[in-house]
Symmetry: C2
Amino acid sequence: MATSAGGRREATKAANRAAILRAAEEVFGELGYGAATVRDIARRTGLASGTFYNYFPDKESIFRALVVETGDEARRRVAAARAGAGSARAFVEDAYRAYFAYIVEDPDRHAFMSRNAGTVRALFDDVALPAVTEDLAADLRAAVARGDLPDVDVEYTAGAMIAVGLELGARLIERDPPDVAGATRFATGLFLGGLAGIDRRPR
Amino acid sequence: MATSAGGRREATKAANRAAILRAAEEVFGELGYGAATVRDIARRTGLASGTFYNYFPDKESIFRALVVETGDEARRRVAAARAGAGSARAFVEDAYRAYFAYIVEDPDRHAFMSRNAGTVRALFDDVALPAVTEDLAADLRAAVARGDLPDVDVEYTAGAMIAVGLELGARLIERDPPDVAGATRFATGLFLGGLAGIDRRPR
DNA sequence: CACGAACTTGACGCCTGCGTCATCTTTGCC
DNA sequence: GGCAAAGATGACGCAGGCGTCAAGTTCGTG
């Protein structure tokens, strides 16, 4: 009835797929990849276990899909946020703000990532989190070439920026209210000026 | 025969316990906590599955023991390394160097930690990794009070320092030879001067 | 409305892990 | 050397996950 295009059949299919993905994200976030089962996911959707296999061939496959989706989304947002960044400071600051805002908006995503970061690293040296890192590393290389940044080890820097983002992300959402501004200020100051750059004493 | 003190019985017991712990560390490092089974651990020791239960009541228990042991060891080493640190720079530098050296010396430990960091956070808000963080946070608070460090958010700072340590640890052991010096320089420069502090261009 | 295609369902057979425990082996001691 | 206590062993019953598939349900179409 209310379905716009493609008929009910297709709409249900899309809805089921989305529901399964969302359930999987929650389950992986709560239990971790290893302990989660296909049936945990199916149970959470209310669908039969067999239905899961109409959408994904197995557990690894849906995990992979989630990792890719998450990586794409994070990259998209960060790229959009820093499109207008004119300075190195704005570049770092806008990216962190965008990422932290994303986390607050969708905590399940963050739980999923932060809980399974080790697994992602171990399971795929080839997709998504690496992709985000690669993306960032490329941007850093460009910034160094342009002279906007000093000649740092971009691999270490990209890794450190993401690690700090994940860690602060976990901490800022536990503050009430979520401390997006403070975490952004901290991360920006850390990377641009070191600890001296994030002194909060009146100057 | 060659047993020195306490008799063979006790020696075997200690050896078994140690073997089980080491096997568990490897298995958790490779498979992740959730996917690992008590039998994977037992198989790796060559002992029967029932024997495992003579030493630990279940999987969570041995995981906990490992996490505590690892945290204690890391704290011990870092504390020892910075015992003589006179300046903020030495404080940060010595701690990172000690930690990175530890990682290179015992890569299984690092694999275990880095693979299961998310699980540790999720499973125990009460032990070890938190303990390391608390330890560090206390030191930072003292340094701030002394005026050796600016008035930073110690919670964020401690979290960031550990996250950077884990991340760089994963990356430095993949370089050949392991880049303890470079990673130490990077981390120290980052925290003390921001990216500008780790410029590697001739000045 | 009716029929076939598309999709969902959950029971099925198989497999593997769990924690226990009766049995066997090793050690300490006289 | 012989005996009791301590410890190791692995088979056992139970539970639950895996991927499949025959049967049932729902949707789209003439």
